[in-house]
């Protein structure tokens, strides 16, 4: 039983790490703001859920798990909100999402 939980927790931690890595890669490599945001928001939703879930399994049923659950809930509420606010700010400042085939990324900011 403990073995199963341990394996499951490590699978979650690794998968979470992979999501964070992919998110970071996407934030660097994607062509424009909205696609970059899409990649970056991966890290603090899927990545955070998997990593914190993995740590919770490692911690077992202790006070630490409850604190981690509170942190997870807080992250799940705030991160998408922050992404939403960022995207709205971008739209309001007049940055239109590009449609059609992806154009090569301009190097100028």
């Amino acid at each position: 039983m403990a073995m199963t939980i341990d394996i499951l927790s490590w699978i979650m931690l690794t998968a979470g790490g992979a999501f964070v890595f992919i998110g970071g890669l996407g934030a660097l490599r994607m062509p424009n703001l909205y696609t970059r945001m899409h990649a970056a928001s991966l890290t603090d939703t899927m990545g955070a859920v998997l990593v914190i879930g993995g740590i919770m399994m490692q911690a077992g049923l202790t006070l630490a798990t409850i604190k981690l659950a509170a942190i997870l809930l807080f992250l799940l509420l705030t991160s998408p909100t922050a992404s939403n606010a960022l995207a709205s700010a971008a739209i309001l400042s007049g940055l239109q999402p590009e449609e059609g085939p992806i154009k090569p990324r301009k190097n100028a900011e």
Binding site: L77, T81, N84
Partner: protein
Amino acid sequence: MIIILFGVFLLALLVITALAIVRTDNLFAAVILTGIFSLLMAANFFLLDAADVALTEAAIGAGISTVLFLGALALTGERERGGSTNRLLALGVVTVTTLIVIYATFDKPRLGDPDAPVHQHVGPWYLEKTPALIDIPNAVTAVLASFRGYDTLGEVFVVFTAGIGVLFLLSAGRGGRTEEIRPADAPGPGLRHYLVPRVVGRMLIPFIFLFGLYVQFHGDYGPGGGFQAGAIVAAAVILYALLEGEAQALRALPMSVLKWLVAGGALLYGAIGVASMFLGGNFLDYSVLASDPITGQHIGIIVIELGVGITVTGVLLCVFHAFAARGKV
């Protein structure tokens, strides 16, 4: 070993962030990078087992100062003006300082060395006497609030003075007519038209307050205390101001109340010191506050931490409002 690796990794990130701050001429990016720097620093402190300092750095450095910097940035421009600084002179100063610091590290004891002077001086005495004299689990709070109560009183007065100074500087030339020129119903600079952040923010603000109170009153038992709690409570109010507009926040906590908070917290701290003098002890000697010396210490620590928290909240909010009001005139 892992800890060392992790520490080196964090320090490398710190250097990269610092270089990025120097290199960028976009002040907005620089402010965000400063926040990242503080967060990395907090992780570093935590790695060195300084949880109290880490909490302070995260709350004040990464949280509040970023907001205050952004508030200042809203008054100026986003781009750095091309400086006419003497780069060679700066390079010389930095090189000399770096060499001196590197030379100084040759005398530095190994990390965590138990024979280091800092662990030989008064530190062991504090750790040894805390259970007997004060009986709280968090020795940091015992040292901060009781053994070194004078120093913390000084810190509170520094915060108080800094707040007064910022208020004087930012209110200069405004003639104190800020309250009238701001119609309460005018759309503020807040996020009034953003639905999602408002809903989520409203939901979170009570919990942020609750967490602030937890940090405030749990300081005896775990990392926390007045400085951190003050920053967290101020952050909750600033979040409210950002969501609902600054006028709304000022209606909830008017400037007159905030000024009382700024002075009241420091006054409360000093009053405890004077009270212990009247009860026959020395200044800030809490043992005489109750019939049992240890209970007296507990009461004293709780009250002075409250004083610290009140002053920090008041000062941070005053500074925030001073910046915000500046933009409207």
